[in-house]
Chain length 207, copies 4
DNA sequence: TATGAATGAGCTTTCATTCAT
DNA sequence: TATGAATGAAAGCTCATTCAT
């Protein structure tokens, strides 16, 4: 009588699973210990694999860092694009949506990835990270352009250069990764609403 | 007649001594390459000294990181304390001063140190960095308390929990280290004024 | 009428089959990068195959090295045997043919293999390479014996021990792999003729 | 009563000695196992040091290879220069001295280094080895020029292009490293004399 | 016959720290 | 005070080989 089920002696062949396990272990370790201080050994230990397997799936530790960013950056960017292309929205309403939907809400799903990205920003240079840089710049440009247009049509007060105001707003959101606990009482969406209320309240002209 | 106390132009806060050379080299390298990726060898090379000298002055690389923080943290904290202890200031005016004088202006002198601090925040744990953590918490508490009081006395709208609002404001300023160029057209003080205008404008009740 | 048996221009000695593709890729990579520095991965990449295929055809990287040698060594040896068994040849004429036909001419077809062999000679030890070593010794013995006999019958001057003279002659030819360009103006056969003229000219007695 | 002699507990500080031990171990291992197949670990084991010490003294394994070459190449080159600058020597006598004194005799002292150089020739490329390449070319040029001049003034028969003849001669000598045993009955100098006799005998015109 | 994921050992190199001088 | 040789552990990465599929 044959054995009822396959009895794999060693780890099941599951390349997709292995990749995901490595990315998952990577993002978690990068988030808490930083990219430079996280060894490939610690990643593969966490994923239950070996260094050989790591380098079978990724050309380098850098490539893993890239993969960590890939998904969430597209997510964040597509949310920003959606808000920007929505027709007929006044500048203040568009900015409110941009803050909440593109800046804060992605943290509900991608907090770890976003933390890694924001912490390692400086090192995402060189050709490996060219695309990521380009996407980041597109994301930031939406804020700058929106502020600029809002200032031009009188929706916003011209408190200062659009770029400075935009970076102030982005900073408000970006900094959130340093103190946000997802198990807390407030969701990223609610925090986004509060920040938008404060920031836009300060931008729109009085009466 | 003594020199007028203008803002120092050359950032030569203490040009003499091996210790200072090491701290200076350390902060510059930590700023651009990160603490973990900066070797003691590169620090002593930059300072024109030897490894032996380094370990003569510092017990460890960690201790140098601590020294890098020491001066600017006290500076920032004393500025915050000064603003908080100024009598008879309405909440919005006190917050404006806190943002400009304690949050942004220190960047004019200590941009490198602040950048290192904000980037390496995560690693400033353990007993070595206990004091730094305590000072940081005191600094943040001033913002939270001020917002809280302002909300209580009706100076500020209760947009959300004081802590969330305070961290939003701190983030706006903290993030500045990622894009600020000191040789630019805007000084930290001016940027602080703009941020304060936007943030406080959003906090105070309409009409 | 069949194609005239000219020297093959394209070195397509056996274009079909995975085995041959691997041997071909191997010899080319070994020639330029050396055996130790050539990875199995790079070989299979060059052959358009996979590692699994490699180990299906060869037990090890060593075995591929062996296969690289197999064909050309037999070729070279059979040429040497032919020259040695030709009847009624005076020693100087036999040496001239040996130099040209067995030492130099094979480079026209097997330059890459010969280069690999000469470079990796040291590592062709152990039982795996026993046969190759035996064949190499047979090849060298023909030179030594021929010189020895020539010295005995007065055809050659007894400049020194036959073995030393033989190795000098072999060296003259062997070294050619380091500078020969097959696309150059001189063919291995012509070079062999020149070397023979010089070497034999020095060996035969004056007047 | 003080101790009569110093009693070092650990390895005596002797940087010069350490460097020499590493170079010595390196050349011996490179000679027998080849550069690519010799690990830094095996070198430091042979030298009684640690890997850390190795990289304290040398920037890389490549740099050690360079150091291995440095001394013997200058030695060989200065011998060649001396022969070339000796006044009033007929071409055949100059060539005889070049073969014996510059090509063969250095093997009496630097056989291991020369073996390593000849085996690893191919890999001595790039800026690290620029100087070595330049010196090698100068060395070879002396042979080519001398043959060329000898052919022009009738001292040598124009058997073929000077470059081909020169490389044949150099090969005769270079190949010696593959079979020479220094404990044998023949010295490099004697072997050089025999090779010179054979080679020059073939080059000079008959009566 | 063939794949390619996975291993495990070893590679070159880096580095914070120690310590004889 | 200061040097810099040396350590020892660990880093990122490579690679010949195995083996479930």
């Amino acid at each position: 009588m044959p054995e009822a089920a396959t009895t794999p002696r060693k780890r099941l062949r599951d390349p997709e699973g292995a990749r995901n396990a490595l990315v998952k272990a990577g993002v978690e370790l990068f988030e808490t210990r930083g990219y430079a201080s996280t060894s490939v050994q610690s990643i593969v230990d966490a994923a239950g694999l070996t260094k050989g397997a790591f380098y079978h799936h990724f050309q380098s530790k850098d490539e893993l860092l890239q993969r960590v960013h890939d998904e969430f950056i597209d997510h964040q960017l597509s949310r920003a694009r959606a808000v920007m292309s929505e027709p007929g929205l006044p500048a203040d309403e568009r900015l409110r949506k941009l803050i909440r939907e593109a800046l804060l809400e992605p943290m509900a799903v991608y907090k770890a990835e976003i933390t890694v990205f924001l912490q390692e920003r400086r090192f995402l240079s060189g050709s490996t990270f060219e695309e990521i840089q380009r996407k980041r710049e597109e994301f930031e440009r939406y804020f700058v352009d929106l502020i600029e247009h809002g200032m031009n049509d009188g929706s916003f007060r011209r408190i200062g250069p659009a770029r400075v105001i935009a970076f102030g707003i982005i900073g408000t959101g970006a900094w959130t990764h340093t103190w946000l606990h997802l198990d807390g009482s407030l969701s990223p969406s609610e925090i986004g609403e509060m920040f938008a209320e404060m920031l836009i309240g300060g931008l729109v002209p009085r009466d």
